[in-house]
């Protein structure tokens, strides 16, 4: 272990050097980074490497086992594919940010202790925000800032959890945790924010569709999958995860049906797919963990492929809303074909990659439900089956149909650039290859696989499920019941901080500002009245006393007025005899003393 390099550094340092290359050399150099990284990775033996002593902590920067290696492999593959895809953008910010981001994700999944994991986890946020801001539109700036705030908060939660965990146990090892004590719960929650758990999810559907065309492809691969990895590493078999995963698989599909922005539809279906993985991790059997990991591997490919095809559409037409698209199969036939491959894969059609991995999670849920006291797993299985039908409905049919078929929107554009087609082609090939020949993938999984996806009953039942989902789509569309795409925005949980934040501001504005003005008036008024009073307070008090005495003495009318005027002037001008002045002063002091 002397001649290998930390995989994350190859990406990060390699990425920072990109701006120094020009023209064709730059393209070659960029493609070389993941290739060199991959060769480096496969030559590192299993075990712990790069041990660093950092004050009292023993940090393990590189921990290679079957689980981390699987994610390491797929991260290299998708990095290469995405780099090929973005070659034509000529945007150094995007290149550097992309490699920094991918490197951070690699660092996180290969980290051997919680502290270095946390460091890379934070870098992940920085890289992804840069990819969002690189779009340079007003809405992407705002979405990026919201994304940054959410993830900065998530990072703090994770850090607090790690610190508490360390003080409780004295260990920073990346080992299985049980949910007990505040430390483990905070770590759990911190990971959950990046994993887009329900209610914590809107950063994803808010920001991903705002990123650059290539940036979204990068984003779809790393953040959530790194969180899935972390859950598989730290919280396998945590029952709470099953129910979180079920909710994740179910609720986004409703939103996806009515969403107009096709990249946002894919963002919702991303949460839906991650839901399957989270359920698998929650079940925690070998089959379930294998299924979750295999599905993460496949999802990175087919979700990347779908985002790439939508990106290509956006690149050529400048549009991404379903209301503005349609009929593009005429001008972009290859993109349409690759999109259909991605759609078939995410829908788990037999012979496509989703089929060989999603079913492992389903099978694990079903076999789990036969165990004593686990009857509720039947519900899990039924909801997952519902979600499987639903994902075909919105990602499998809606995406290709509204973009490439359906109503012809009249775009007559060129086919996607060659580098984009090559990138999509590689991803599409891998989807079909894994779908038809899953053995190489199964060999990479954390546990030995004894699972055969291609049984007659499985193929038949899955095909039936999908065809009848398609039948429902066709009949609803032909009968006009299918909801028309609308230019509209659908509020989600981000309302809490986007609108209520504003409402809070307005509330403060309407309550506090008048209060402020009122206080201002009161203070100024009191001050000016006090100043007015004290201007001639002595004179007035003297008058008050003197007038009463004069009245008793029998002075009346004109004589009284003259005496009053004389006294007032004397006091104000200081021409009062000293004795009277002293008397008034003493009276004044006495009066103040009595009043106070």
């Amino acid at each position: 272990m002397t001649n290998s390099i930390l995989p994350a550094l190859i990406f990060m340092i390699g990425g920072f050097l990109i701006p120094f290359f020009k023209g064709r050399a730059k393209s070659v150099y960029m493609m070389l980074i993941p290739v060199v990284g991959f060769i480096n990775l496969i030559n590192i033996p299993l075990g712990d490497h790069f041990l660093v002593n950092f004050s009292d902590f023993k940090l393990v920067l590189l921990h290679i086992d079957r689980l981390s290696l699987l994610f390491g492999y797929i991260y290299h593959i998708i990095a290469l594919i995405t780099v090929i895809y973005i070659l034509n953008f000529k945007n150094d910010v995007e290149y550097v940010a992309g490699f920094f981001y991918a490197g951070a994700a690699l660092g996180a999944v290969l980290a051997g202790d919680l502290f270095s994991f946390f460091i890379f986890w934070e870098m992940l946020t920085i890289g992804s925000v840069m990819l969002i801001w690189a779009r340079k539109t007003k809405s992407s700036q705002a979405a990026g800032l919201r994304y940054l705030l959410v993830h900065a908060f998530g990072g703090l939660v994770l850090l607090a959890g790690i610190v508490l965990h360390y003080t409780e146990t004295g260990s920073l090892e990346m080992l299985k945790l049980t949910l007990s004590g505040p430390g483990s719960y905070l770590i759990f929650l911190g990971i959950g924010i990046n994993c887009a758990w329900p209610v914590l999810h809107p950063w994803l559907t808010d920001a991903y569709p705002e990123a650059t065309i290539g940036g979204t492809v990068f984003l779809s691969a790393f953040t959530t999958k790194t969180a899935v990895y972390a859950l598989a590493r730290l919280f396998p078999g945590t029952e709470l995860l099953i129910w979180i995963g079920v909710a994740m698989a179910a609720f986004p599909i409703f939103y996806a049906v009515i969403e107009n922005d096709l990249r946002r539809v894919l963002a919702y279906s991303l949460i839906n797919q991650v839901g399957f993985m989270v359920v698998g991790i929650g079940i925690g059997t070998e089959l379930a963990i294998n299924g979750a990991c295999a599905h993460a591997f496949n999802d990175i490919l087919f979700k990347g492929l779908l985002f790439m095809s939508m990106g290509a559409v956006m690149y050529r037409t400048g549009k991404i809303n379903a209301t503005d698209l349609g009929g593009l199969y005429k001008s972009m036939p290859w993109t349409a074909l690759f999109c259909c491959v991605g759609a078939a894969s995410i829908s788990a059609f037999p012979l496509f990659s989703g089929f060989v991995s999603k079913s492992m999670v389903m099978e694990a849920a079903a076999s789990g439900s036969h165990l004593l006291g686990q009857k509720s797993y039947v519900v899990v299985w039924l909801v997952l089956l519902f979600a499987s039908a639903g994902v075909f409905h919105h990602a499998g049919i809606k995406i290709p149909f509204f973009a490439f078929f359906g109503h012809d929107a009249g775009h007559r554009v060129k086919e996607a650039p060659l580098n984009m087609l090559i990138a999509m082609g590689i991803a599409a090939f891998l989807c079909i290859f894994i779908g038809t020949y899953p053995k190489p993938l199964y060999d990479l999984l954390p546990f030995a696989v004894d699972y055969h996806p291609y049984t007659i009953s499985h193929v038949l039942s899955q095909t039936e499920l999908l065809f009848f989902s398609a039948l429902a789509f066709a009949l609803l569309l032909l009968s006009g019941i299918y909801p028309a795409e609308m230019r509209a925005l659908n509020v989600d949980a981000d309302w809490i901080y986007r609108k209520s934040g504003k409402a809070l501001y307005n509330a403060f504005d309407t309550v506090l500002n008048p209060l402020n003005a009122w206080c201002d008036r009161v203070v100024r008024g009191t001050a000016s009245r006090t100043a007015y009073f004290f201007k001639d307070a002595g004179a007035k008090i003297s008058l008050f006393v003197a007038v009463n005495i004069w009245l008793l003495a029998g002075h009346r009318d004109k004589w009284l007025e003259i005496k009053k005027k004389k006294l007032y002037n004397d006091i104000m001008q200081g021409t009062l005899p000293a004795g009277i002045g002293a008397a008034v002063t003493i009276t004044f002091i006495l009066l103040v003393y009595v009043l106070i």
């Binding site: 599909i253 409703f254 939103y255 049906v257 009515i258 199969y329 005429k330 099978e363 079903a366 076999s367 439900s369 036969h370 039947v378 299985w381 089956l385 519902f386 039908a389 639903g390 409905h393 078929f405 007559r412 049984t455 007659i456 009953s457 499985h458 038949l460 039942s461 899955q462 095909t463 039936e464 499920l465 999908l466 065809f467 009848f468 989902s469 398609a470 039948l471 429902a472 789509f473 066709a474 609803l476 019941i481 299918y482 909801p483 609308m486 230019r487 509209a488 925005l489 659908n490 509020v491 989600d492 986007r498 609108k499």
Partner: protein
């Protein structure tokens, strides 16, 4: 004159729909065969639940699931969450 594409011709769309509808029917027939064969133990069937053995279970579930999905999205979710496109900018 622009080039005619496959689905510009309504006959092709009809043809596609016909193929699709017949494959749906064929699937149901195949399912019937499968159940008979597995009942008579000609082929081994792996089932976790009893209802998986009902004729057309997956077909029914897939169809109903999608109809419910669309109806709920359209008539319940959309009225609840739909806003103007510049809702957050106001």
């Amino acid at each position: 004159m622009e080039k005619k594409h496959v689905f510009d011709d309504p006959r092709n769309v009809k043809r596609l729909l016909k193929i699709f509808f017949s494959s749906v029917v064929i699937l149901l027939i195949l399912d019937g065969f499968y159940i008979v064969l597995s009942k008579t133990h000609v082929i081994h069937s792996h089932m976790n639940y009893q209802w998986e053995g009902f004729w057309g279970f997956y077909a029914f579930y897939g169809f109903v699931a999608c109809v419910i999905l669309v109806l709920v999205s359209k008539y319940i979710l959309r009225p609840l969450v739909k806003r103007e496109e510049d809702y957050y900018d106001k």
